[in-house]
């Protein structure tokens, strides 16, 4: 099974080093010598590193925003009593069930009317409101942070926001980290939304750029295609090698509630 998982990657890596003619003439597992040539051909059509940078900027900002504001919201829901709190919480949970495509057309129209099409705003700002993360963090903080800790800080004269930043955030950190991995992967792999709101090739995220690659001239040079795909895949594989333990644990944490 492990081999089956790897074969497509292996073919990709081997073919990335072979010239177009060599790929057309047959299949082999021996690497070729056209790596540099393929790289130059590919870079003359698209700048894959720009796609990387764009994806990275968006994903990092989305992860930070979603982490911070979800923690803020979860804390607000968990430790204050105010009118309409339960109704708001239930409404948020209901909206969590709604699939992303439902609002797609309205979202596009809204972005058009606000004049933020072809910018990163519609890709980044909505991360402030991530119901699932809020839900997860609220469940976490109600079990880990005892109200007496907050009381003690209040008596010591700390302001409400200071309490949040110095007591609640550190306690929530493991849960925020878990959710951040999800958020980051989700944002990195998001395809339909950037496809709809972005028009300028230099602003494309990596997934959109990969789709663009297929429709471009470079698609005729298979070696360069393989190399382009390899470049988009290998850094993720390397990062995963270091982080796999945390990623795997966070998947289990997200699905099993005990």
């Amino acid at each position: 099974m492990a081999i089956v998982c790897f074969i497509p990657f292996l073919m990709m890596l081997v073919n990335a080093t072979r010239s177009n003619e060599a790929i057309l003439s047959g299949f082999t597992l021996i690497p070729g010598s056209s790596l540099v040539e393929n790289y130059q051909t590919m870079m003359s059509y698209i700048n894959i590193w720009a796609g990387f940078k764009n994806s990275l900027i968006i994903s990092v900002l989305v992860t930070l925003l979603s982490g911070y504001f979800s923690a803020l919201t979860a804390y607000g829901f968990a430790f204050y009593i105010f009118k309409g709190k339960n109704a708001m919480f239930i409404f948020m949970l209901v909206m969590m069930m709604v699939p992303g495509q439902l609002g797609l057309i309205g979202f596009y129209e809204l972005s058009k009317n606000l004049g933020i099409l072809d910018t990163y705003i519609p890709l980044i700002v909505p991360a402030v409101a991530s119901p699932f993360v809020v839900f997860f963090l609220r469940q976490y903080i109600t079990t880990t942070l005892h109200p007496s800790l907050i009381e003690a800080a209040r008596i010591d004269g700390a302001s409400e926001f200071k309490i949040f930043h110095t007591i609640a955030i550190p306690i929530m950190m493991p849960a925020i980290a878990t959710m951040s991995i999800f958020t980051f992967i989700g944002s990195w792999n998001n395809y339909i939304l950037p496809l709809v709101v972005l028009f300028s090739p230099e602003k494309f995220t990596l997934p959109v750029l990969m789709g663009f690659l297929k429709g471009s001239q470079v698609a005729q040079n298979l070696g360069s295609m393989y190399l382009g795909i390899a470049i988009s895949v290998v850094p993720i594989m390397v990062a995963f090698l270091f982080l796999s333990k945390y990623i795997v644990n966070s998947i289990s944490a997200g699905s099993i509630k005990e």
Binding site: M1, A2, C5, F6, P8, M11, M12, L24, F27, F69, S70, L72, T73, G76, F77, Y80, I81, F82, M88, M95, V98, P99, L102, G103, L104, I105, G106, F107, Y108, L110, P122, V125, P126, V128, A129, F164, I185, N189, Y191, V196, L206, P207, M210, G211, L213, K214, L222, M225, Y226, I229, S232, V233, I236, M237, S244, V248, I251, S252, S255, I256
Partner: protein
Amino acid sequence: MKNLNRYGYYFIAPFWIIFLVFSIYPVALTFYYSFTNYTGSGEAQIVGLANYKRLLTDTYFVEAFFNTWKIWGVNFALQIGLALILAMIFSDMRLKLKGIAFFRSIFYLPNLITISSVALLFGILLDWQHGSLNMMLLKLGVISDPINWLNEPTSAQLSVSLILTWMWFGHSFIVVMAGVSGISKDYYEAALIDGANRWQTFTKITIPLLKPILLYIMITSLIGGLQLFDLPMLLTDGIGSPDGSLNTMVLYLYNQAFKYNNYGYAAAVAYGLFVITLIFSAFIFKGMYGKERKQPRQV
């Protein structure tokens, strides 16, 4: 002591402002458009239920529905089957396999790769003239002529199902393993003493106790599966060929909205998709939990 509860509103305010603007409003706006003939420019005219009537008789949508369902069904059966078999092997007390962490990582790896890279990779691996898969099979003598995988409806759908299985079985495996590790070892020890074989242990202990987890995987996979878009879009340049067999519901929605500018109708497609998802999720819940309630309670 002064009342500090007004801070609750301050804390949740940013969330609600963004949530209302970027989540609730678009969903409501889409709902409004589904009753209009809006084309992306000019005024939207209200046409009542015309879009929904069209949806019910639209053969393309019905076809897209069955395509999505077929692709998801095959993929889910394979994915969960593989995940369970692997979980059975790895959790077997008699085999005591090592290196589970390593295998979990390897199996999960395909899921992490951007789906458009996956689509592109398989797009050229499956290419019938120059694709590595055909070349390898030819060399090994398995086939005598190259097979055009993506040009024949059944093999195209099967290809997408298999790619999805490749991407997702690792994820299911991890979730199933997490569930298995939550089952008390006592059950397995008792089974061992009673002389139960592997298959009995698996079907009589593991599967029943994993039911909530399996339900979770099924629901999340179904919701994801009904929204299948990226792979067919990229494998077929957005047209869903051959013979429309890779035309999924979301691809249809996307094309109606952003290719043909039928925003009103596309909005109705979106709500149709939503209702379908709700109905099937409800069916699964009922199917899994409904039977239990009918059984008499044991005292």
